[in-house]
Symmetry: C2
Subunit: 139 residues, 2 copies
Amino acid sequence: MCEQAAEQNGQQTSWLEEIKWNQDGLIPAIAQDHKTGKVLMVAWMNAEALQLTVTEQRAIYWSRSRQKLWRKGEESGHVQQLHDLRLDCDSDVILMQVEQLGGIACHTGREHCFYKSLKNGEWVAAEPVLKDPNVIYDK
Amino acid sequence: MCEQAAEQNGQQTSWLEEIKWNQDGLIPAIAQDHKTGKVLMVAWMNAEALQLTVTEQRAIYWSRSRQKLWRKGEESGHVQQLHDLRLDCDSDVILMQVEQLGGIACHTGREHCFYKSLKNGEWVAAEPVLKDPNVIYDK
């Protein structure tokens, strides 16, 4: 790679280099509904996922369990279109404002993932399943 | 400890045992303003911090850098009073609805921590400092 190309590459990726990745090269990313403000979910991104999220203007995560890129909505159709991207003061958490296509962010078929509420010392499901996951994922 | 006491103790802490703590025994916790929906900050909790958060109805984190409990607002007065506590589908992220006393969540003196916005390939501070941190922390 020539020096000029290296400089260009450095310029293009410098915003990624400012991020404090964890020991596994990942950063947690929060997806928030840009209209309702509801916190939909949290997942992980590596540098490639974050770069692609910005380039394609949709949430693309890194699946730790599958060890591969996870284009949110690739199976369910529940794509998260990006409206805004923020980084926190310590540069180790991402916050996205998104439009949640289909109105379902959670793999359980709920609007969002934070449906377990602590009531009298027990976690109880406080929100309804909007769509059967077997239908969502065509099992 | 007698069996009865052990059972009682088991009952009291079972909701903590359902949480998937990471390899360091921590879980990330999101604080969201219960009125505006603004995501204020993300920090870590261990089991003791989460138990105390519920008991005292205010956000209490675990400071990884200081390796001790961090009663949010203990120095700044910017206490986060708890209104609701949720757990996500994978039981590895906490979401709190809080009332942010003083209207400042970030140690930089801003309303919240997610003030860095990606503009033309650079992170820029998109929100004002409401109060000088030197004044907040009486340095």
